[in-house]
């Protein structure tokens, strides 16, 4: 019994950790886009150079830099598009992998071993319909009116895997929600200003970024 339980727990952990694996693979794909990185560096270098030179005094260099910048911007856009489509493709493949490796076997396993008893509870601790639910799973509720499934004789009531898993997942997801709400960044309250409309002088405003005679 314990080996099955371990397998199920392993599936459970894998399912929970999958988003992490997913994002790690995507980050790896992005980090490996050397061309994009190179283009970004080139753009940064040209922008830095453009800041240092005067358009009027070094017009040829400034214009050639602008042309190169335009080309690089186009290339970056292209690279980004390619990268996004690559990420989408990876996501789709990972989704399939998850379906084949985790979702389907886990579902089959849950269905197949759903009635496997995990542990016992003393009889009479919970109402009868809950004890039936623990022992037979959800099917007890569905077939309840027909009175086909009954709580077994004896001093103890077994808790089936399906119900135990359901309870465990509920606990895990509730804990997850609590953790998220505790670690989420606080939303700052909107600041209410009573200042009058900005009346700064035109001359105090920063200059427009364009060449002047």
């Amino acid at each position: 019994m314990e080996s099955w339980l371990l397998v199920i727990l392993a599936f459970l952990v894998l399912e929970r950790l999958w988003p992490l694996i997913d994002s790690l693979i995507q980050r790896f794909a992005q980090a490996n886009s050397t061309k994009l990185k190179e283009l970004m560096h080139q753009r940064q270098a040209i922008l830095a150079e453009q800041k240092e030179i005067s358009a009027q005094d070094q017009y040829v260099k400034w214009t050639k830099n602008n042309r190169t910048l335009e080309k690089i911007n186009k290339q970056i856009e292209e690279e980004k598009k390619q990268l996004l489509s690559q990420v989408d493709r990876t996501k789709a493949s990972l989704k399939k992998v998850k379906l084949v490796l985790i979702t389907v076997p886990f579902t089959i396993l849950k269905f197949y071993k759903g009635k496997m008893p995990i542990y016992d509870l003393p009889k009479g601790l919970f109402p009868n319909y809950l004890q039936g639910l623990f022992q037979h799973g959800w099917v007890y509720l569905a077939l309840g009116p027909l009175n086909i499934k009954k709580v077994g004789d004896g001093t103890h009531v077994t808790v089936s895997l399906a119900i135990w898993l359901f309870a465990l997942l509920k606990v895990v997801s509730t804990l997850g929600n609590i953790w998220e709400s505790l670690t989420a960044p606080a939303i700052p309250a909107p600041t209410i200003t009573t200042d009058p409309i900005d009346q700064t002088n035109e001359s105090e405003k920063p200059p427009v970024d364009q060449p002047v005679d």
Binding site: A55, Y59, V60, T63, R67, E70, P211, D213
Partner: protein, 349 residues
């Protein structure tokens, strides 16, 4: 293989394929003089062909340049039998449209008819941004139609004396903008066609038919404008920073529209070192500045025809002066041999 580009516009002037030639640049650099010069040289070089020079600049100068009045209808330049000129006048064109609308609604009565009588349509449409460009575009469509159907005056080449850069770029963007718009509209009309036609009212206007005709015309224009054998853009500038800056912007925009641009006319050059007698200090230092920018133009546009035109002693007005000045588009200006011409122009005025 020799890859040097001639510093003249001979290839364009003697071209037999070009149908649309745009001349544009920053305000005050000599666009009108340059477009008149190109038109005159083309008309002289190919007398068997008909040329039309259209001013799409809201502030028209063609009449002033030739020293005779041109209007919204094409008229031959006095002394040239294969060159006509016209100035697109948005207000007059809109007034015509208003009058037509009034005539169509003559039988009707009520508030709409009263509104039209007051010229409301022309006033309303006249205030729409880009209406000049739209009317110039309509003129292009009219000429294409005339050429296809053999109606009205037929011109082999139309030369546009364009408005300053911003207007011109908007005008050149019109085909692709209209094309996209009509494509979207086509999707709607495909579904709502009969309903739209019924909405057009009792005038029996086939709205869907008109739209598809317009779409095909726009596509034709778009195709022709992006064909380097049929359309080209001649940039005009002066040898100064801001003019160069705007020329670069214009060139890059035109390239992004897939338009052919391979000629730049640099106007108002002083050539002060070749001046007869002692030229003034101001001219010398200004020529020094011009040379600096000329070198930069040569370096930046090495695969362009860079035509260097002199600053004349007087205004270049009238057909004779324009003819004399325009010869330097075909034979590059030689500051030693041709310096007399720039003073002769002054004597004629």
């Amino acid at each position: 293989m020799d890859l040097t580009v001639e510093p003249d516009l001979n290839s364009l002037i003697t071209s037999s394929t070009h149908r649309w030639i745009f001349v544009g640049g920053k305000g005050g650099v000599g666009k009108t003089t340059s477009s008149c010069s190109i038109a005159i040289q083309m008309a002289l070089a190919q007398p068997e062909k008909q040329y039309l020079l259209i001013s799409t600049d809201p502030a028209h100068n063609l009449s002033d340049a030739f020293g005779e009045k041109f209007g919204k209808d094409a008229r031959k330049v006095t002394g040239m039998n294969n060159l006509s000129c016209m100035e697109i006048d948005p207000s007059a064109a809109l007034k015509d449209m208003n009058d037509m609308a009034v005539a169509n609604n003559a039988t009707g009565s009520g508030e709409f008819s009263d509104l039209l009588q007051g010229g409301a349509l022309s006033e309303l449409t006249g205030s729409i941004p880009g209406i000049d460009e739209a009317l110039s575009f309509m003129e292009v469509m009219k000429h294409i139609k005339n050429q296809e159907q053999g109606e009205g005056d037929r011109y082999d080449t139309v030369i546009f004396d364009t408005a300053p850069t911003g207007h011109t770029l908007r005008f050149l963007q019109l085909p692709s903008t209209l094309s996209k718009l009509l494509e979207k509209f086509g999707e709607i009309t495909a579904r709502l066609g009969p309903m739209l036609n019924s909405l057009a009212g009792a005038n029996n206007v086939d709205l869907v038919g008109k739209m598809s005709e317009l779409k095909s015309n726009v596509e034709k224009i778009k195709e022709q404008f992006t064909n380097p054998d049929m359309t080209t853009f001649v940039c005009v500038c002066i040898s100064e920073f801001l003019s160069l800056y705007e020329t670069e912007r214009l060139v890059q925009e035109l390239i992004s529209y897939d338009m052919d641009v391979n000629s730049i006319i640099v106007n108002q050059l002083l050539f002060a070192e070749y001046d007869e007698g002692d030229s003034c200090k101001r001219c010398q230092s200004r020529w020094k500045m011009q040379k600096k920018y000329l070198d930069q133009i040569d370096e930046l546009y090495e695969d362009f025809h860079i035509v260097k035109m002199p600053l004349c002693a007087g205004e270049i007005r009238g057909l004779n002066n324009l003819k004399k000045f325009s010869q330097f588009l075909r034979k590059p200006y030689d500051p030693v041999a041709d310096s007399k011409v720039i003073y002769e122009l002054e004597q004629q005025d």
